[in-house]
């Protein structure tokens, strides 16, 4: 059983452990746990999921307490279906990138596990296939 992200389990909070929005209602929570249950193989894991599901759905006040004990959603909302272009900034040179820019964000790194990073030997940003496809798409 794996959650989409693997934060350090500092609190054991089910909203974090199973990557649930604290504002989710019982039906959304149940749907999420059903998905997780489908991915689960062992009885032990199923029992853990069941306990967490019960904690969040049996009594609303338990859900409220758990919601209070996790990070509130204070990030910017990601607009859906908005493709308004923003004004372009001045060009950034590859030389301006620093080492920190080469690091994967923590949740991405966590999802990658211990896999070695892809080799970039002999590559330059200019001939990156994804960027090249975007550039050609823009031009056409």
């Amino acid at each position: 059983m794996t959650a989409p992200t693997k934060p350090d389990d500092a609190s054991g909070n089910p909203f974090e452990r199973f990557d649930l929005d604290p504002r989710s209602g019982p039906s959304q929570i149940t749907a999420r746990f059903r998905e997780l249950m489908d991915e689960t193989r062992t009885e032990e894991e199923k029992a853990i999921l069941r306990a967490a599901w019960e904690e969040l759905t049996l009594h609303p006040r338990d859900r409220l307490r758990a919601a209070l004990s996790t990070y509130p959603e204070t990030r910017e909302e990601i607009p859906l279906g908005v493709d308004d272009e923003l004004p372009h900034a001045a060009p950034l040179r590859v030389e301006d990138l620093d080492l920190a820019d080469l690091l994967a964000p923590p949740t991405v790194a966590s999802a990658l596990g211990n896999a070695p990073p892809p080799s970039t030997e002999g590559e330059t940003l200019a001939n990156d296939p994804v960027l090249a496809s975007i550039v050609s798409g823009q031009k056409s």
Binding site: D19, R23, P72, S119, V130
Partner: protein, 430 residues
């Protein structure tokens, strides 16, 4: 998401490249929002890792704490520095921010952040962990006043929040104190280090109240709750010792065995962050054992028995001297300390010890008697052989003091008689 062609460049570079290379892409509002979300996620990872001292991954929602700082527009410098790899100023900012100036959402996020960091810090990092816990508690206490935010929050979570639901949200700070107390209680009988850390947090409740900007009256409610919890925790730490002593007494165990059991109070005292209840317990339980040893032949054993407990008695003595609330224990504390003072290796040390005891309890009869005897012994020593004028003067002062302490004592009248004999001019040196 499947990319049409596999990129060999890390995700972050492509993101950063996009808004800048004008000819390369169209950069939408959605891309911008995603970009900042990922950036903030990375920054919160950096700052938490720096705080904990190892790489830690928080839940992606923790990035909201950085997003709020960014939106406030007052932390641009520290966020830029953190983006370049140095999260130190950003961490300092989290410590320096006045809680009263933070929006409720920020308080909530800070409370969770500090609590998570506190739980992730190793027990060996006691000071930093206590600090993080204390800040989490302070943020919860400050948030308790934000009733409108908590009401909306409860409604968002539950759909429709009743008055009782809102009360649960408003009272969440109390459940944090209760949880700390429960965790400390669970490790009290074994003096567990993580449990001791919780004790230290509860002891810092008044500091948390000050950080949260609570009024004196509000702070009193918090500290009273913390004090009640601490008393229970100390009782729990002392309970196995009390039980073991009772069992030992029931089967007439010797003083050595009972002494060894009682010595565990020193560990309990350290565990409960030097609670006076443990000091009083040590006084009450040690006194009968000390008397038993005193009356038995070779009462020198009292020194070995009392030695490990002396820090507790010294601490209680300081409390008695500075706080009238503890004065009820003055005589009992003086009595147990007297056993130890009597076994000091030299007469001067014995006198100093008993003088100290009389500072704690000036009317302690046994203490006055013992000091009077010691002063007379010292005076008589000064009068041996052919005493100098200075020696006679010193002896007179000592005897006069002894007369003031316990005039009817035989050793005092004997010493006065000897002094008069010397002063009668029979044997006076230079």
């Amino acid at each position: 998401m499947d990319l049409p062609v596999k990129s060999r460049w890390p995700f972050r570079v492509i993101h950063r490249q996009n808004p800048s290379v004008s000819s390369a892409s169209s950069w939408s509002v959605r891309d911008e929002a995603l970009f900042w979300r990922v950036t903030d996620e990375e920054l919160v990872h950096r700052v938490a890792s720096l705080h904990v001292g190892r790489s830690v991954v928080l839940h992606p929602r923790a990035a909201g704490m950085i997003a709020l700082l960014r939106r406030a527009g007052t932390a641009k410098d520290v966020l830029d520095i953190a983006s370049r790899g140095n999260a130190e100023p950003l961490l300092r900012r989290l410590f320096d921010d006045k809680l009263a100036a933070l929006a409720p959402g920020e308080l909530h996020a800070r409370a969770i952040y500090f609590e998570h960091v506190a739980r992730m810090l190793p027990v060996a990092e006691e000071t930093r962990a206590v600090e993080a816990w204390m800040r989490a508690l302070a943020a919860w206490l400050a948030l308790q006043k934000e009733r409108a935010y908590l009401t909306t929050f409860a409604s968002d979570v539950l759909g429709k929040a009743t008055q009782e639901d809102i009360r649960v949200a408003v009272d969440h700070a109390w459940s944090v104190i209760a949880q700390l107390s429960e965790e400390a209680h669970a490790g009290a009988s074994t003096f567990d280090r993580a449990a001791r850390l919780r004790v230290l947090v509860l002891r810092s409740a008044s500091q948390a109240c000050a950080l949260a900007g609570l009024t004196e009256k509000e702070a009193l409610t918090v500290t009273n709750r913390a004090e009640t919890a601490l008393s229970d925790i100390t009782d729990e730490a002392l309970r196995p010792i009390a039980d073991a002593l009772e069992t030992a007494e029931a089967r007439n165990a010797d003083t050595a065995e009972r002494g060894r059991i009682l010595h565990r109070v020193a560990a309990a005292w350290y565990f409960c962050a030097f609670d006076p209840i443990a000091e009083q317990f040590a006084v009450d339980r040690a006194t009968p054992i000390a008397w038993e040893i005193y009356r038995a032949p070779g009462n020198q054993k009292n020194r070995a028995f009392l030695e490990p407990l002396m820090p507790l008695y010294d601490s209680l003595a300081r409390r008695i001297a500075s706080d009238p609330l503890h004065f009820a224990y003055a005589a009992r504390c003086a009595e147990i300390m007297l056993f130890y003072a009597e076994l000091e290796p030299t007469l001067d040390q014995q006198i100093r010890g008993v003088e100290h005891i009389l500072l704690i309890c000036p009317t302690h009869s046994n203490g006055r008697l013992v000091l009077a005897q010691y002063l007379c012994t010292k005076a008589l020593r000064a009068l041996t052989g052919i005493p100098s004028v200075a020696n006679i003067r010193d002896a007179e002062a000592l005897i006069t003091r002894a007369e003031g302490l316990y005039p009817e004592q035989k050793s005092v009248t004997n010493a006065r008689a000897r002094l008069e004999e010397v002063k009668g001019g029979k044997v006076i040196g230079r």
